[in-house]
């Protein structure tokens, strides 16, 4: 229980970012004619903010499957860097590794980098919780999103990346000092 509480507190910054960004996605998706089930299904099977927001642009219009695939592929190309950086740390192949690779978003990669112990069962819970926040945000966005009138909530995600950038920068400076 204490462990779960510490994991929840660890994921709290991502929870805030994901729920508000998910709400934003849900609002736009609902305005484009998307349903709650579709929003739930897309966030469950894709779990990629940038790709999903790009998808909103073409949702409901005619699109070429190949162009759509390639555009999403190139939007997500940065994941290759993440995979190479932590490729050996996910252990042997199994359901846990497959799920963790599937859920390796920018924020989960950041959480992995921030985590001091890199404990696989713990990080699996972190990845899963973050996935749940995203699904909750995207689904609730379709239901309640139209009632939220606040502008600028997308800044939360930018703020999260600023923290990750500063953290990575500090790590590099520290590494250089040691070397």
């Amino acid at each position: 229980m204490k462990n779960l509480k510490s994991i929840f507190l660890f994921t709290l910054p991502v929870a805030i970012s994901y729920i508000f960004l998910g709400l934003t996605f849900g609002v736009i998706f609902a305005n484009k004619g998307g349903s709650i089930f579709e929003s739930f299904f897309i966030s469950l099977t894709t779990f990629a903010g940038a790709a999903q927001f790009y998808g909103l642009e073409i949702y409901g219009n005619d699109y070429s499957l190949i162009t759509f695939f390639l555009t999403v592929f190139f939007i997500n190309l940065r994941h290759i860097g993440y995979g190479v950086a932590i490729g050996k740390d996910f252990g042997s192949w199994g359901l846990r590794k497959i799920y963790m690779i599937f859920a390796l978003t920018d924020e989960n990669f950041g959480m992995w980098q921030l985590s001091a112990d890199k404990n696989l069962p713990k990080m699996l819970k972190v990845f899963f919780l973050n996935h749940c926040y995203w699904i909750i945000g995207c689904t609730l966005g379709v239901v309640w999103g139209s009632q939220i009138k606040l502008k600028g909530l997308d800044f939360i995600l930018t703020a999260l990346f600023i923290v990750l950038l500063v953290d990575n920068g500090l790590k590099i400076v520290k590494e250089r000092k040691v070397a």
Binding site: L12, P13, I16, S35, F37, F41, I42, T45, T46, F47, A48, A51, G55, Y59, L65, F68, F69, L70, V72, F73, N76, R78, H79, I80, G81, Y82, G83, V84, A85, G87, K88, F90, K97, I101, F102, D106, F109, Q113, L114, L150, K151, G152, F155, I156, T158, A159, L160, F161, I162, V163, L164, L165, V166, D167, N168, G169, L170, K171, I172, E175
Partner: protein, 105 residues
């Protein structure tokens, strides 16, 4: 309303492909990116994401506000190393000022 299965399928397939690619071809890809270079690339990538967050501003005032809030987040994290506090301090300022001054379009 009909449910277009092609849409989530392609979205998911393209995303999963990029995520699994480095794990399937790890030894091949890691030859090009050793750990040290990789840490710089990751920082660069996150930097690009931050800049992208600044790319869709609509007004000069909003840009200034984003910049100020972003600096507050960065400084707050540098001083406190508290992720939640840093994110909230900048974000609350940004959302509050944006919604009370009428800068939001």
């Amino acid at each position: 309303m009909s449910f277009d299965l092609k849409f989530p399928f392609i979205l998911s397939l393209a995303t999963i492909t990029t995520r699994f690619l480095p794990f399937v071809f790890y030894s091949f890809l890691s030859k090009f990116l050793n750990n040290r270079i990789n840490s710089y690339i990751i920082t660069l990538l996150i930097g690009i994401l931050v800049c992208n967050g600044y790319a869709n501003f609509e007004q000069v005032n909003e840009y200034g506000l984003r910049l100020t809030s972003g600096l507050i987040v960065a400084l707050s994290y540098y001083k406190t190393r508290n992720v939640l506090l840093s994110i909230l301090s900048g974000s609350i300022l940004y959302v509050l000022v944006l919604n009370t001054t009428g800068w939001a379009l």
